[in-house]
């Protein structure tokens, strides 16, 4: 299974996402932002980092990268896409996911081991988790507050598209403790915490993050 990981200028966790794909048993494929070619991958991860410095709004500039011209229609066509942190921001800016991510309510960057509940275990990226399963993964962001208007939030809740929710501490002021959401079809998932930093013994808070990467492999195999 070939899982592409896009590198934008300023991407930071791209190699970590590749490592996670490899540890899950997939074949990571490096995709380059300026290369309008998905190289036939079966799924794509948009990694964490500060694309283009995140100077305007996080993900706002990356959204216009040539690779996104292909990725957006592919995602709309069902290609599994996981956006982690900055990748989540890119997905929102691209309107593949609703809502937006704003500066943390406490104004500071925060790095912590975060407990989450998997609220939806039938997306392309979460099917290896149990419904309601609690996991602990790394979280690190400065602009991770998930916001959307009430109607959108109600719709997300109603359709079960909240993929993960913060437990114990809401680290950034996200509305309704939302840590991740999906599109209606469940192939596109955006997640603020970093599962790719919880896949290897001794590095990161747990091994709980691996499920995201194994899920997509199974999904693709079964598809």
């Amino acid at each position: 299974m070939r899982v592409g990981v896009v590198t934008f200028p300023g991407s930071l966790d791209d190699h970590d996402a590749q490592r996670a794909v490899r540890l899950a048993g997939g074949e990571p494929v490096a995709l380059w932002h300026a290369d309008a070619d998905l190289h036939g991958v079966d799924a794509v991860v948009l990694p964490g980092g500060f694309s283009y410095g995140d100077y305007l709004r996080c993900g706002a500039i990356a959204r216009f990268a040539p690779v996104m011209d292909l990725l957006v229609p592919a995602a709309e066509g069902g290609l599994p896409v996981l956006g982690i942190c900055n990748g989540f921001q890119v997905l929102c800016e691209s309107h593949l996911l609703p809502g937006a991510l704003v500066r943390n309510d406490h104004q500071q960057f925060v790095c912590r081991d975060q407990r989450l509940r998997i609220e939806r275990a039938d997306t392309a990226w979460t099917r290896d988790y149990g419904q309601g399963q609690e996991i602990v993964v790394a979280l690190k962001n400065g602009e991770g507050g998930y916001v959307a208007d009430e109607a959108t939030l109600d719709e997300l809740e109603g359709e079960g598209r909240v993929v993960a929710r913060y437990l114990e501490v809401n680290p950034n002021g996200s509305f309704r403790d939302i840590a991740g959401v999906s599109n209606a079809r469940g192939n596109v998932v955006g997640l603020m915490p970093h599962p790719e930093h919880a896949v290897e013994p001794g590095f990161g808070p747990s091994l709980d993050g691996l499920g995201f990467f194994t899920s997509v492999l199974h999904q693709v195999v079964n598809a």
Binding site: I61, F64, Q107, G145
Partner: protein
């Protein structure tokens, strides 16, 4: 050479943590009369030419597509600097 000024503000219904933090700090500084603060962005775009209607149209496009995110922000205004200046001068002269 000309300059276009684009103002972008967070939507009224969207949480503005930066504005809130500023409001809190103002209160601590004894400037609590400012009960609500919102923080947005102001861009100056420089063009080599005069600011024509066409330049303003391009600036509006930039404002809508890149400089703001319609989910959370409104483009409040897109103006030529010279207009802003002349208007201010007029006002100050009053």
């Amino acid at each position: 050479m000309g300059t276009v000024i684009v103002d972008v503000m967070p939507k009224q219904e969207i949480l503005d943590p930066q504005g809130q933090a500023v409001a809190g700090a103002l209160a601590r500084l004894g400037l609590g009369r400012f009960t609500d603060v919102r923080q947005g962005k102001r861009f100056t775009l420089t063009v080599e030419e005069e600011v024509t209607e066409e330049v303003l149209a391009a600036a509006r496009e930039a404002a809508e597509t890149l400089l703001s995110n319609p989910v959370i922000e409104d483009v409040v205004s897109v103006r030529a600097q010279q207009d802003v200046d002349s208007v201010r001068a007029a006002e100050d002269a009053r």
